[in-house]
Assembly symmetry: C2
Homo-oligomer: 188 residues x 2
């Protein structure tokens, strides 16, 4: 595993912000000032269309970054709203830009981090395209998605938890998965 590229930044580059549900971190069209990492809680990125309808663009959870592209843009392209209380670390855009220019380890690390995310999102999109619940779950287990609760897995792959449990049982009946304990499954 690779170290966090943001550790190359000056300590002053990172500022922790506490947030309550409903707090707005930034608004669309505001001048960009930084990117963020969620420490705890949840932040939803969304955009409001001309008709007033809200389009959700991302839900950033604990450990996840968001607004990376703001480094390259004058203004934010959406709103960031706290949807579960917690805290975020704001990483100052100025420091990111300067460090990118003068510290190649940071520059490379940041780019690598984005490239790996691209990989992961592409794979996830392919997985979501698998029509059958059973096959999708098997692929998800193979891809290492079952690292928390089964209900979280279900949500993550767009299934109800009932469908998820049933398919897990079906896969065990088929000998394609092994139930090693309550909520725990392994590949044979």
């Amino acid at each position: 595993m690779f170290s966090d590229p943001f550790s190359h930044l000056p300590r002053t580059a990172c500022r922790t912000i506490e947030m309550q549900k409903g707090d707005v971190l930034f608004r669309q069209t505001q001048t960009t000032s930084g990117l963020y990492r969620v420490v705890s809680g949840c932040v939803t990125l969304q955009r409001t269309g001309l008709g007033g309808d809200t389009l959700t663009l991302h839900r950033a959870l604990s450990g996840g970054l968001f607004a990376e592209a703001s480094v390259f843009s004058e203004t934010y392209h959406c709103d960031a709203i706290c949807t579960a209380a917690g805290s975020v670390t704001k990483i100052a855009k100025v420091d990111v830009i300067v460090t990118m220019q003068y510290n190649s380890a940071f520059s490379e690390g940041f780019t690598r981090l984005l490239a790996v995310q691209v990989q992961q999102y592409r794979a996830h999109i392919e997985l979501l395209a698998i029509p059958s619940a059973k096959e999708r779950i098997l692929a998800a287990v193979q891809a290492g998605y079952l690292d928390a609760t089964v209900t979280e897995l279900a949500t993550r792959i767009n299934l109800s938890h009932e469908a998820c449990y049933r398919a897990l049982r079906g896969l065990c009946d088929d000998g394609r998965l092994i139930r090693v304990g309550r909520g725990k499954y392994a590949l044979p």
Copy 2:
């Protein structure tokens, strides 16, 4: 719109490769030598698990890049198989690495390109999570997805074309979309 960062590379960095269906561009565990852009045709990235099952990680179409992360890795993490005849441009890893270090316009452009892709994939994943066909299609039209055929739109958002057409009609009946022609729909 931003220019292609790869235009900063020396001309010798890019090599066009013709491919037939079934051709292998690289194999998992092979030493990395470059990343690719699809000129025409289709390339599928896949990984074979211990059980012999194949997991599709990405389908790269015309204009799309793949194997960006190979720049940061010793070996390819999957196989790249041609699934529709055409050609790809192979971009030499060595040139990417060197240009990244000495040409900040390239470095920044490449990083931006990845950041924008992250944004787009995240938004796509949120869209795929919309349960109802009608709402998913409306969101897709709002997000600009209906830029080709309705059947392509349907596939892209994991719906059958029949469900897609029916939902489009429903949205028109509701006054939430306007049918401006055969296969053409606009927002009110």
